[in-house]
């Protein structure tokens, strides 16, 4: 970390003296590609509502963790998110109901349960606020290491499975006729999203995390001509907007997660205007 800290000392900004800013910078540089990559599959697979629901279940997991007095409630949240993802994938395969109805049922139940547990016995909700808004400036070097490990794992899984996931999302029947297990690809993919969303929630915030999972690819779709450009533009947008969002929020004093989301939204609007020229 000391090398990283020393890296910026020559720059003429006052944040170069602040280690928490450098931590945050490193954290967004690790998190942004993660969101950029996952975003492409979430958008192509029409799962943006589902990833939103996963964020809600992560909150319930955190509430349960806090209730049980766990030192690190985030791991309870990760476990619950995975359970949620597995249960959801199973129910969606079994039920006749539309996917968005199933997600709605799960999502609202998760939030209700989370709030119920958080306020049980007249407890104050205030201590959970940080999970709603998120605080990237609180990230520690150890947590950045964890994020880097997750990024590495996701990249490896991505290289191994992305063609299967792509085929499963654009044409399930074609995928299964070519020997791809749809259920397994879906399950793997939803579990990865669950873990990433849950780990990132305390820094990005439950209320805005989904914009990072949807906007980068949604904007990239407007300008990309093929898969290569799609992934590239998505990762770049996530990276540029995250770094810019960190500094803008520092300069004007507001939530980093929300600023990043707003920048991504502006880029999405611009890309929509570009769309007619590209296509």
């Amino acid at each position: 970390m000391s090398i990283w800290y020393a890296l910026f000392n020559w720059l003429p900004f006052d944040w170069v003296t602040l280690n928490f800013m450098k931590n945050a910078l490193l954290a967004v540089c690790v998190m942004a590609p993660l969101f950029g990559i996952l975003s492409t599959s979430i958008v192509t697979g029409r799962m943006s509502f589902f990833s939103d629901a996963l964020g809600h279940s992560a909150f319930t997991g955190i509430a349960i963790g806090v209730l049980c007095g766990l030192a690190a409630p985030i791991w309870a949240a990760v476990a619950l998110s995975i359970a949620f993802a597995v249960l959801f994938t199973w129910v969606r395969a079994k039920t006749q109901q539309a996917a968005d109805t199933v997600i709605g049922v799960f999502s609202s139940t998760a939030v209700a349960l989370g709030i119920f547990i958080a306020t049980l016995g007249g407890g104050s909700f205030t201590k959970f606020n940080s999970f709603l808004i998120g605080d990237i400036l609180s990230v520690t070097p150890a947590e950045i290491g964890l994020l880097a490990l997750v990024l590495a794992a996701v990249v490896v899984l991505w290289i191994l499975f992305s063609s299967r996931i792509l085929l499963t999302t654009i044409h399930p029947q074609l995928a299964s006729s070519r020997g791809i297990s749809i259920r397994r690809s879906e399950l793997l993919f939803t579990c990865v999203i669950a873990v990433v969303v849950t780990l990132a929630i305390s820094w990005v915030g439950l209320l805005v995390i989904n914009s990072l999972l949807v906007l980068p690819a949604a904007a990239a779709r407007n300008v990309a001509k093929n898969m290569r450009q799609y992934v590239l533009f998505s990762v770049l947008a996530a990276l540029v907007c995250s770094i810019a969002g960190l500094f803008v929020s520092y300069e004007i004093g507001c939530s980093t997660g929300a600023t990043i989301s707003l920048l991504l939204a502006i880029w999405f609007a611009l890309s929509s205007l570009l769309r007619s020229r590209v296509q």
Partner: protein, 252 residues
Amino acid sequence: MNHHAHHPHGGCGDACCLRVSDLSVRLGTDQILEHVSLHMHCGEMVALIGPNGAGKSTLIKSILGQQTYEGTITFSTPEHPSQRLRIGYVPQSPAFDRADPVTVQDLFVSCVSRRPAFLPVPRALREKILACLKNVRGEGLIDKRIGTLSGGELQRVLLALALEPMPNLLILDEPLSGVDVEGMALLMEMLSDIRHTFDLSILMITHDFTMLAQYVDQVVLLDKTVLRSGTPADVLDSDEFLQAFHLGGGQA
């Protein structure tokens, strides 16, 4: 179509064939298929017709191994009496999102290799994809996005995909729906060429009867079970056909 001439006893002798015997499928309390039997040789083009809800798609799913069934499906060649059947499948009118930035090349890369579609494609793989597309006169489509293809172009791309690796049996689920008249003729010509060139069997579900007499060897009329099968002229003139499509309330 004249394979039978060599085998007067009804067996397959030295030809390869696909045989579905006494196949039944039940979903819950619904009997979808009952005692279905059919038999086709290599190089034969067979059309599967029947009213909506006749179980055509279920039969195809059974052959594809995506549906549990009672009965047997066997495939044999002279060298291997019970060889594993390699099936190429062209799915029904796929609804690709126009906005998906997936090109024909991306689709091929995902299907024929396990490479991620977002990595640069090696020259050899691109050459291979072009060769596949050449089978369907579609080399020019390689960099087009799949959402922007016409119905006929999309069917040709999916056909090229189904031919890699080369199957013994090609199954097409309503390949002519959403394809204009010109595209239909092109597609049928292409299928005719392909089965002769590569000596594979073709089984297709269709609702378009105008093409049958010209291209198809055998027509199988299905409604829960095989009502009639034979040459196009025989089946299309039969009482069973008239009943299934006119008196039975089905749609042609």
